[in-house]
């Protein structure tokens, strides 16, 4: 709804993000609603708070999955824009909120909102994802998740001084572990050539590469270089025509 007083919920006051005309906010809102998954993640909200009670993020941040569901259900275009620039990035996407008695999935709704924020290159989305460049690069280039060689002090400053100890003798630590697959510091496990080619194709065909390009041009170019070579070898060179 359009409130005429400039008071905002939670702690969202202040100029943390760029304001845009109402029409632009409405366009973003309509993009969320147009998603084919929209009707599966949001019905209506009677503000019972079950989602907030279950939400781990709500314990640590001024974050409320209820407010997200409520704002979108009420078609409160202004508030949805506010939330898209801040609150949606406090969600850990654990989907504990899927216990909603109305059948809503606030987490699923946040997924859609994040996608719209990323696709439209919102500055706040870029900021929120800044720290994840290394992880995105690892997952998208190797097809596996966080690997031991990422345990570097500069990547995880919040891990404290232990990260220095571990980072120094990483190779040794890893070799001390029995499973064969862990005897590498570059990947979590090995991914077959066929699988990685399929993953590259999926990321191209489903628009993930477009999203990366929108959010981090540098990362996009590095990934493009890595993928191009392997895809060309597999006979998919046409994909990178711009």
């Amino acid at each position: 709804m359009n409130f005429d007083i400039n008071s905002t919920p939670l702690d969202l006051t202040g100029e943390k993000y760029r304001d845009v005309p109402y029409e632009e906010k409405e366009r973003l809102f309509n993009e969320i609603k147009a998603d084919v998954r929209f009707h599966d993640v949001l019905y209506g909200c009677y503000e019972c708070g079950v989602c907030v009670a279950a939400c781990p993020s709500a314990r640590f941040y001024d974050f409320s999955p209820r407010v997200i569901a409520q704002a979108v259900a009420r078609e409160d275009v202004e508030l949805v824009y506010t939330l898209m620039n801040d609150s949606i990035w406090d969600c850990s996407q654990c989907f504990s909120c899927d216990r909603c008695p109305r059948g809503n999935s606030p987490g699923g709704l946040i997924t859609l909102m994040r996608e719209v924020a990323v696709k439209n290159g919102l500055e706040t989305a870029k900021e929120a994802l800044e720290g994840y460049g290394r992880i995105i690069y690892k997952i998208m280039s190797t097809g596996t998740q966080v690997s031991p060689d990422m345990l570097q002090p500069n990547a995880f400053p919040d891990w404290g001084h232990h990260v220095n100890e571990i980072a120094e003798n990483l190779d040794l630590w890893r070799r001390a572990l029995p499973p064969e697959t862990l005897h590498t510091v570059e990947t979590g496990w090995s991914v077959s050539e066929k699988t990685i080619i399929e993953l590259y194709l999926i990321w191209h065909m489903t628009g993930v590469m477009d999203m990366i390009k929108e959010i981090d041009e540098g990362l996009f170019m590095i990934l493009q270089d890595v993928m191009e070579e392997r895809l060309e070898d597999a006979g998919y060179d046409v994909l990178f025509d711009e």
Binding site: M1, N2, F3, D4, I5, S7, T8, P9, L10, Y43, G44, C45, Y46, E47, R66, V67, Q70, A71, A73, R74, E75, L79, R102
Partner: protein, 354 residues
């Protein structure tokens, strides 16, 4: 010979159902109605569609009226009031009055179905300016516009862009003296909100509430339907006052779940007025010497297990004269009152005959 006739007072849903039931079971009912036509409040207040099923009120009430008028066992007296009563179960002498003068009826039992009246929002809630602003209306006024299929701003006939309902007006209020919930207003507001959205699709509709009380099937049929299919905005928080701003009404309140105060300009504000005992209910309680509760409704002394017996044996009460009731309550209680009244006149007859 003891009298087995049963007097039914009030020609609304409860009275019609009671009279029909008595007639259907082969007993004689005398139905007294002070207005010159049957149908009660749904007719008098021009209800458009009934809650919860949105069936035409006129059609539904006509079916009830016909069932009574076509019943040879029901004697309908229109434009008639009860002015005095004496006697006891099996032998009541009730004086009625109409244009032709006074008449005393001998009846074995009485069913009171004199219903409710809508709370007058000018009585205690001047903060909403019902008598001050033309565009502040009640559920009843809204119903009249919906019946005419023309929902416009009363002050200038313009198409509204934004309207709101304010719930619990005259209900759940210790200061006013009506501490009870009027039970039907949440459903009626939701029903009217759906109808407004259908009539004026561009118009945004808000419902400001304290608690939404949508029991049983009203939850999916009205509340969820209004919210999910018709995008009616439910905001938990009651407006504290309404002030005029240009040609709009500025509604001030708090959006409690989003933790922010609001001031929203509205074209029309609809007050969800609750129920109070009707004048007829108050008068019948006095004439028959019935115990009333602190809100002046007739007390159903055996409730909750017996919802129709009053403090006077042989006098039963059904519908909203005993407290806020929806149609289902009123119709159900009326059938029960008819059954209890018949039992009373039969038992009494047997006793006296032996």
């Amino acid at each position: 010979m003891p009298n087995q006739d049963i007097l039914v007072i009030g020609g609304g849903p409860a009275g019609l159902e009671a009279a029909r039931s008595i007639g259907d079971l082969g007993y004689k009912a005398i139905l007294i109605e002070k207005r010159d036509r049957l149908g009660g409040t749904p007719d008098e207040a021009s209800y458009a569609a009934l809650t919860p099923d949105l069936r035409s009120a006129e059609e539904a009430m006509n079916a009830m009226i016909q069932a009574v008028e076509n019943n040879p066992n029901v004697d309908v007296r229109l434009g008639t009031t009860v002015v005095a009563a004496e006697g006891s179960v099996g032998d009541f002498k009730v004086t009625i009055q109409n244009g032709k003068g006074k008449e005393t009826l001998n009846v074995g039992a009485v069913i009171i179905a004199t219903g409710f009246q809508h709370f007058d929002p000018g009585r205690e809630t001047q903060k909403y300016g019902y008598y001050e602003y033309e565009d502040v209306i009640t559920l009843v006024d809204c119903e009249k516009m919906l019946k005419a299929h023309r929902f416009v701003r009363p002050s200038d006939g313009k198409k509204p862009e934004r309207v709101c309902f304010i719930q619990c007006v005259g209900s759940r209020d210790r200061r006013i003296g009506n501490e009870y919930c009027s039970k039907v207003c949440c459903g009626i507001a939701s029903k009217e909100a759906i109808e407004i959205r259908q009539l004026v699709p561009d118009c945004k509709v808000f419902i400001f509430y304290i608690d939404m009380r949508m029991y049983a099937y009203w939850e999916p049929d009205l509340y969820w339907k209004a919210q999910e299919e018709h995008k009616v905005n439910y905001v938990k928080g009651i407006a504290t006052e309404i002030v005029k701003k240009g040609d709009k009404l500025l509604v001030k309140g708090e959006d409690t779940t989003l933790r922010r105060p609001f001031e929203i300009p509205m074209d029309i504000v609809i007050l969800s007025v609750g129920m109070e005992p009707s004048q007829g209910t108050r008068e019948m309680a006095k004439i028959f010497g019935l115990k009333q509760n602190k809100y002046q409704f007739i007390e159903a002394v055996g409730a909750p297990m017996d919802t129709v017996s009053t403090s006077v044996p042989g006098v039963f009460a059904a519908g909203a004269c005993t407290g806020p009731a929806d149609l289902e309550d009123s119709i159900s209680a009326a059938g029960l009152a008819a059954m209890r009244a018949i039992k009373a006149v039969r038992e009494n007859g047997t006793k006296k005959a032996s």
